[in-house]
Symmetry: none
DNA sequence: CTTCTACAACAAGGATCTTCATAAATGTAC
DNA sequence: GTACATTTATGAAGATCCTTGTTGTAGAAG
């Protein structure tokens, strides 16, 4: 469940980020037109929260671009209040929903969930990699159909990797994503090592056909066995 | 039991909100014409408390719009005192009730209840999640039709969660919602633990198909079994 | 005044996560 | 290849958080 938040106002952007991360979404952000396009080109997201007024260009153009490229991403337009015509235009261009500022964060997360459920294959939000299936809807994991109970941090880590299979992830990024912002200038990743050990053990013992390999000096990568 | 309060004056709006939330309604608010219309388009409410004088347009127009779209929402007009013609006009347009400012909050809640009971499906205000049914009208809970007696705090907690199924709720938020404002900077959630224990026990023993799961370091979440 | 009820406070045990100490693996220089 | 430094893994201790049973207390009911 990866979400790209395109919003130029920093405070709002960070509020949205924390809120969504609390709901266990993986959040990436872009603060202007260009960086949004770059991120979109590089990564796949499940949902894009898109502001209209952006430095460097309009959110509508980003939306058009997404649709032109035939991407499957769901888009929620977020725009200043009183912009009634924005709503019409956005939906015309193929946005999945529209939310007027200011909005309740709970409203945003509710819509994201409903949109993803609506647009994805019959409401199934699960992610599968080899014989491991992770269901973000109820935070469960199964291997070959057998349930594999994971603790919270283990789940979060696996979720992060299974959303980015084969991608090299450095430890700071991982720490930021799973542990949150309070991990600032940590020079010691013991807590990652500890969690990684437990998660790997459970994956191995469950017969999972995947493995989190470490890349010396960089971080980790999820691969098929 | 979701209510939309459309009122531009912030202090009154928040007073109404707190009052209604204390009566266990779920409250959303809009402060102007446009945001009210947008909210109305997006969600279903059981009742709308509608001010007439609004920035951006008149409450009457909102009312007309509601009726034109054939929505079933109940509407209570709230307007400045001595505006007799407002009352006539409002009721003509299909409002269910009229309340002149200033009014007692108790009166507002009483009218809301009576209207909902009068107009809704044979007066049923209940919320159901899996095999658990909660009836805010008389503060009772039943599991598979069997009555499940809960104490006050237990009921409040269950109500809070059953209104937000599957949503992650942190403990401060829960404390604020159930215990109220006097829970400020509490660093000790023993009282939540105690209540949670009793509620869980009752739910389990009653055969409820729901469970309040804890999320380590965060809070709780209501899920189906 | 006594008893009962609802709730919070306390305390002990268990679960979960991080920190620490130490070992193993990997990379670099010679 | 060997020696050394750096990075990662592992097991165990420590810290924090959650659960549960018991006890204490204030207010309502009798």
């Amino acid at each position: 469940m990866k979400i790209l938040v395109v919003e130029d106002e920093k405070s709002l952007r960070e509020i949205i980020r924390t809120s969504l991360e609390k709901e266990r979404f993986i959040v990436e952000t872009a603060s202007d037109y260009n960086s949004a396009l770059i991120k979109l080109e590089d990564y796949d997201y499940d949902c894009i929260v898109l502001d209209i007024m952006l430095p460097g260009g309009s959110g509508f153009d980003i939306l058009s671009e997404i649709k032109k490229q035939g991407k499957k991403e769901n888009v929620i337009i977020v725009s200043a209040k009183d912009a009634w015509e924005d709503k019409v235009k956005g939906l015309d261009l193929g946005a999945d929903d529209y939310l007027a500022k200011p909005f309740h964060l709970a409203e945003l997360t509710a819509r994201i969930r409903s949109i993803i459920r609506r647009n994805n294959n019959n409401g199934d939000m699960s992610i599968t990699f080899n014989n491991v299936k992770l269901n973000p809807d109820n935070f469960t994991v199964s291997v070959n159909g057998q349930s594999l109970p994971l603790l919270r941090k283990e789940y979060d880590i696996l979720y992060y990797f299974i959303s980015r299979p084969e991608r090299l992830v450095n430890k700071s990024t991982l720490a930021e994503a799973v542990w949150g912002d309070h991990i600032d200038g940590v020079d010691n990743f013991d807590f990652i090592y500890a969690q990684m050990k437990n998660l790997r053990k459970k994956l191995k013992e469950s017969g999972a056909g995947i493995e989190i390999k470490s890349v010396y000096g960089f971080g980790y990568k999820l691969v098929e066995l």
